[in-house]
């Protein structure tokens, strides 16, 4: 037989079998498709939630930071400023929480069928891409409404989308593999996301943080993502290269260690879940 499979005990890190993941690409596609299909089933607003949620986030954060705290940004309506942040933030936070709980949500698949487990959290993050595209289109509509003309910098935007995905995958790999054994993740996750929201410039600009803390602040890769979104769409803020490099490095470390930990734990998922 040309395609003989050998099963034997494995120890340590199992290899990332890219060819095998490629062979299961249709399952990956169907899992993304299922998540999208099921997301707004039996809701009154349906896919309009993809628009309603960022709009509500925008209004709340604008009231808090613009009206109550009194922050403002030169040359940009505060509503538009927050909306860009919320679009990126929602893509990240929904990706992370979806991915972190994805293995438990698909426990029956894990204990009954074989496939590379890594496609489960990855599919959970990718299925958020549609919501993101809808919210992003609304951002473009708002830009037209506020007579805001984007420049060439908007071409850089996909780089920040990729950075969001890499960061979400890294955190998602960590949390989902830990949650198979320790259900604590499910309880802690909402609070972790909430804390992250306040240490991320979603409702305010990153330059509000005192300069001596900037280095620490930019160790959060999502700071770079949200500043990057606004920089490329609205030309606000600056993108100091050293801080951007720091964020990207942290995202890379999260991704690589998350992936390694996932591959180390993967073998035991079916026994423990």
């Amino acid at each position: 037989m040309n395609d003989e499979v050998v099963i034997k005990p494995t120890h340590g890190l199992s290899a990332l079998r890219l060819r095998e993941i490629w062979e299961f690409r249709e399952l990956f596609y169907f899992l993304v498709w299922r998540d999208i299909k099921v997301r707004y089933k039996q809701t009154f607003l349906g896919a309009a939630w993809a628009i309603a949620r960022p709009l509500m986030g925008m209004v709340v954060l604008t009231i808090v930071f613009n009206k109550l705290v009194g922050f403002s940004v030169a040359g940009v309506p505060y509503l538009l400023f927050t909306f860009c942040g919320v679009v990126a933030w929602n893509f990240f936070s929904e990706g992370v929480s979806g991915a972190s709980q994805s293995l438990l949500a698909n426990a029956n698949l894990i204990s009954k069928v074989y496939f590379p487990r890594i496609i489960i959290p990855a599919a959970a993050i990718l299925s958020g891409l549609l919501d993101f595209v809808i919210a992003f289109s609304l951002a473009l509509v708002l830009m037209i409404y506020f007579h805001f003309v984007p420049t060439w910098t908007i071409a850089i935007l996909p780089v920040f989308v990729v950075l969001t995905i890499v960061t979400s995958l890294g955190i998602g790999f960590w949390f989902s593999s830990i949650s198979v054994q320790y259900r604590d993740i499910g309880h802690a996750l909402p609070y972790i996301i909430q804390v992250l929201l306040w240490i991320t410039p979603v409702g305010y600009a990153a330059n509000k943080i005192p300069s001596e803390y900037q280095l620490l602040y930019w160790m959060n890769p999502i700071v770079c993502v949200i500043e990057g979104f606004r920089w490329s769409m609205l030309h606000t803020g600056t993108m100091p290269l050293t801080l951007v490099a720091l964020s990207v490095c942290v995202a890379g470390v999260l991704f690589v260690t998350g992936l390694m930990n996932f591959l180390r734990m993967e073998r035991r998922f079916a026994d423990v879940i």
Binding site: V5, L27, N106, D184, D271, V272
Partner: protein
């Protein structure tokens, strides 16, 4: 022909202790502290080790249909999980020379919100079919499931029978070189079960597929397979011609006492069966039987139906205790425990070994569980100084009856006592 599957010295170890403990950070933390204080390496702590499989070796030729039988917990399902690569072995080596599809359950990954049509694509791809393959077999699957009218209805609106029919129909149209099947024929009504068995037979015989077939249904195993493996306590105890192996499996082992259920069994998302208490000593035929089923609820639930099922050693259902009239708990709070104590004043079973199963329906979950516990019925003291016929000639139950005998030709005789019925023996 060469072996398409070869298994050498396969072993799988579970650490029961490690699974019981360590399900939250705090437990893991406590464990660390304790091991630091006692200056022992964590591996030296007294985790109970269970070998679910030990030193299992066998070979399977291409086109062969192999039956795997054994009691619950004998290691059958673990073997299938390793063969289908869901979990890894602790030791040993397996070589597989073909595309494997494993059916450890039908309907894996079904999403209630999606329609039947959508679930065919989702489930098909989960089972390893390509999109084009599903498209080409789509009509056949729908026809097999007898589902044409409801194919665009969300699956959550299906009856459980429809759900199972669709799930099996998809599975039955898998086209791998090696098919691994675990107990999936135990679904649907009798007519659909026959249809499934027929389909399996065609797959196995006519299409020359290699099949590994696990079942508690001995008739199905004997119909489908020529060769069988009998597992007990993680080892192969008998191997060879299916009729001989099945006979060895069914023959009661040393006249042992009954065995109560001690391991908890999960019954759906909310309910857990903690144990079944049975008398350890044999029950005398015609004497009383007491048994208690202990449940606990992991989440608030309502038990709508509960029945105790009694099976003979040949796996024929002898009797059920329908517990619906007893006042089942309509409102079991999360964490609440509950015991159903049953007493049969006079158990009419012929001596032999019997097993206890369970049918339960709670909220959206309904299932049969077999072979949960066993008990032995001992012969009743012989009456009238006459040796009874052997147990194998006497069927399954002893009936109370009276008989009178009269001389004379056939036909109802006049003057027969009105209080006794005529009977022929």
């Amino acid at each position: 022909m060469s072996a398409i599957i070869s298994v050498e010295h396969l072993g799988k170890q579970y650490r029961i202790g490690a699974l019981r403990r360590g399900n939250s950070f705090r437990d893991a933390f406590d464990e660390k502290i304790r091991s630091l204080l006692s200056r022992k390496k964590p591996s030296e702590s007294k985790d109970e080790v269970l070998w679910a499989l030990k030193d299992v070796s066998f070979q399977l030729e291409a086109g062969e249909v192999l039956g795997i039988i054994g009691r619950n917990g004998a290691g059958k399902s673990t073997l299938l999980k390793i063969l289908s690569r869901i979990t890894g072995p602790t030791e040993g080596l397996i070589r597989i020379g073909g595309r494997v599809a494993a059916l450890l359950e039908v309907g894996t990954g079904f999403s209630g919100e999606l329609t039947g049509r959508e679930n065919i694509f989702l489930n098909g791809s989960i089972l390893g079919m390509k999109r084009a393959e599903i498209l080409s077999k789509f009509d056949e699957i729908v026809a097999f499931a007898e589902m044409e009218r409801f194919i665009d209805t969300p699956v959550k609106r299906y009856s459980s029978g429809m759900y199972m029919r669709l799930a099996f129909a998809i599975a039955a149209h898998l086209d791998p070189e090696i098919l691994i099947v675990d107990e999936v024929l135990a679904v649907g009504d009798a007519a659909f079960q026959r249809k499934c068995l027929g389909k399996m037979q065609r797959v196995a015989r006519a299409e020359g597929r290699t099949v590994l077939f696990v079942s508690h249904n001995m008739a199905a195993v004997q119909t489908l397979c020529r060769r069988a493996l009998h597992f007990a306590a993680g080892r192969i105890v008998a191997e060879g011609d299916v009729d001989r192996v099945v006979k060895g499996y069914l023959a009661p082992a040393a006249p042992s006492a009954g065995s109560s259920l001690r391991e908890p069994v999960e019954l759906g998302p909310a309910l857990r069966l903690d144990g079944i208490d049975l008398p350890a000593e044999p029950v005398t035929s015609g004497g009383p039987l007491r048994l208690a089923l202990r449940f606990s609820a992991r989440a608030a639930t309502a038990v709508a139906e509960l029945a105790v099922l009694f099976y003979s050693a040949e796996e024929a259902r002898v009797a059920v205790l329908d517990l619906r009239p007893g006042g089942l708990p309509a409102n079991l709070p999360a964490g609440g425990g509950w015991t159903a104590s049953c007493a049969v004043p006079s158990l009419p079973f012929v001596e032999g070994e019997y097993s206890v199963g369970l049918y339960v329906r709670a909220d959206r979950f309904a299932d049969n569980r077999f072979n949960l516990a066993r008990f032995v019925v001992a012969p009743r003291p012989a009456a009238g100084g006459l040796a009874p016929y052997g147990a194998e000639h006497r069927g399954l139950v002893e009936l109370d009856f009276t008989a009178t005998f009269q001389a004379g030709s056939g036909g109802p005789a006049s003057g027969a006592p009105s209080d006794s019925r005529a009977a022929t023996v």
